[in-house]
Symmetry: C2
């Protein structure tokens, strides 16, 4: 019998702490029938035990490590690094560092999670200032991974290629696509479009022998079309694209709600169409895509949304388990080494200065 | 009696040429009851006359200037500049340069329109490489102007402030808002967020004494919320945000269509709700927001979408007329001069190097 996968959980993180984390475990096990996973829960033992008592399915698979200390949701990352030692967040990550657990999930303070993960696990992607965040973006063809959506505000060609390497391996591990396609987000699909960083990254992905299935440049509307499996962009553009999309989705949803309550016939129509509209809603259900991995670290770290429900938390667990059971880390490590070799070639297309001039 | 406003039109531009341009004139006059406007149509006289014969309302307000020459939709800007002299596009812009017309509308080749406009009219915003394009973005509160959405791929602090100056004056002239609010698009609303260019631009807008109603940083989801009247961003991010939003809108629309045809009850419901859904559609009707002004030139130039219908073209005419009748050009000129003075101060917050390091 293979040894079970052990996932470390920051049970105090997020808006709801153990009252979502433990039901999240139950949701994950029920949904995936997974009997080969165990959990290490860090936080207030009494509060966690009270939740486990209400979720029998979680009873046999959880080990609790007590700590009183919690990183607050609004604590600054620098402060959390100085004072966070011994907190549920810190201890949850440390279990991955020591090799006890194969992955960690936290719904806590994102900045603190990134800072402490970087401190304890160290970056494997040396071009990055901090871990990259992946968004799972619902599309007409399924889900596209978009990264970075927030951490690295300015990204040169090397960083963009690192995103491509990590995004590809992530998509493969979590969505089971044998050879995910990768595109770089740009203002046009022609080769001469965009600034230096995207053009240099494109040259490396095309000619660098990294073996990725590079599609070329994609535009903003290609994301929702599902043109490629992985969309690579700098953290500034990615963050703005993601939040702009969320804003548009909320705007249309508000207009739709207004329309469907604006008259009696519209209300009657909405009632008739309700089951179909509910099925549609499931396709863009945030909890079905919750769980943003922090990529570029020597270890599996998954961020759950602070306000996620049990189903959403269960999905974040699924992502951590899928990554932990895959060859994600070794594959990324090998490709990052290959990238270093490409960048060190004297005739490298990359000058190391990137993000300068433009077309 | 005041002399009429004269708008110059590239009658051959766009996918449909005079068969949309002339009905567009009719649509504009009918919709706005404007008796104080005249049009100068450049292009194939016979084709234009044939359309005017079918639009009686346009008959008395149009003057036709014949030319056989047309800039093709796929012609490269450099080629169009070299060989475009005497074309309908060139002549339409030239009428603004000579002062005969107060504005020009074209649905033709965007690259050629930008290049020839810049050549003939020259830039008034000296920090810009090329004119900025404004998108009129439907929001929960009305319409927000977002710029630049495509022309200037890398924008330093000076360019961002120029966008703010022009966007504010544009919004005032076209939407009649006395004091439009301006925000800079960023990855967070706190002052230390983002890269050097956005933070320097924010400092100038806050402390530079330009007199704009500066709101601060806004995030991607603030666009559709209508948090501010004018959203300023570099052309790379703006273009990607706009196309991403279009992609999301199309994605949701496709899901909705699928849902409302998925079962008999859903189809019956859709039928009942149809009038309400149609009213909703009007709020995000592309032709109601068609017409993207090219800002930063010594003259009024408005780009209509190549595939726009008569209603859309009529809206592009409205934007040109509103800008031509306002003090847009003098106001922008005065504010750009003020900006030059701010940038020349020895203690200026702007180093002139911008877009370097980051947080």
């Amino acid at each position: 019998m293979p040894s079970p996968t052990l996932i470390s959980l920051d049970a105090m993180g997020g808006d709801h702490g153990p009252s979502v984390v433990v039901p999240g475990i139950r949701d994950y096990i029920k949904r995936h029938g997974d009997s080969g996973v165990r959990f290490l829960l860090h936080g207030d033992e009494a509060a966690i035990r009270a939740q486990i008592a209400r979720c029998h399915i979680a009873d046999g698979v959880c080990e609790v490590r007590h700590t009183d200390k919690v990183v607050a949701m609004d604590e600054k990352p620098a402060q959390a690094m100085r004072r966070g030692k011994g907190s549920s967040l810190w201890n949850a990550i440390e279990a991955v560092k020591t090799g006890e657990a194969q992955g960690v999930v936290s719904a806590g303070n994102t900045g603190a999670l990134m800072a402490i993960s970087k401190l304890l696990l160290r970056m494997s992607a040396h071009g990055l200032e901090r871990p990259a965040i992946v968004a799972s973006w619902p599309t007409l063809k399924g889900v596209t991974a978009v990264l970075d959506v927030g951490a690295n505000v300015e990204s040169d060609a090397e960083q963009l290629v690192e995103f491509a390497i990590m995004g590809e391996a992530f998509h493969q591990a979590v969505h089971g696509v044998a050879k995910p396609t990768v595109g770089i987000l740009n203002v046009g699909s022609e080769e001469m479009k965009g600034h230096e960083a995207v053009r240099e990254a494109a040259a490396i992905l095309r000619d660098g022998g990294l073996g990725l299935s590079y599609h070329g440049f994609v535009e903003g509307d290609d994301i929702a079309k599902g043109t490629v499996d992985v969309v690579v962009t700098d953290g500034f553009t990615g963050n703005i694209a993601l939040k702009t999309a969320e804003g548009v989705a909320r705007f249309i949803s508000a207009l739709l709600k207004e329309a469907l309550t604006s008259s009696l016939p519209a209300q009657a129509g909405a009632l008739l169409a309700m089951p179909a509209l509910k099925r549609m809603r499931q396709k863009i259900d945030p909890s079905a895509i919750n769980g943003g991995p922090l990529l570029g670290l020597n270890g599996i770290v998954v961020k759950s949304h602070g306000g996620a429900d049990a189903k959403g938390y269960g999905n974040a667990i699924r992502i951590a388990v899928d990554l932990a059971r895959s060859d994600y880390l070794t594959k990324v490590g090998a490709n990052l080494e290959r990238l270093t070799a490409v960048l060190e070639q004297p005739a490298s297309p990359v000058t190391g200065e990137a993000t300068e001039s433009a077309q």
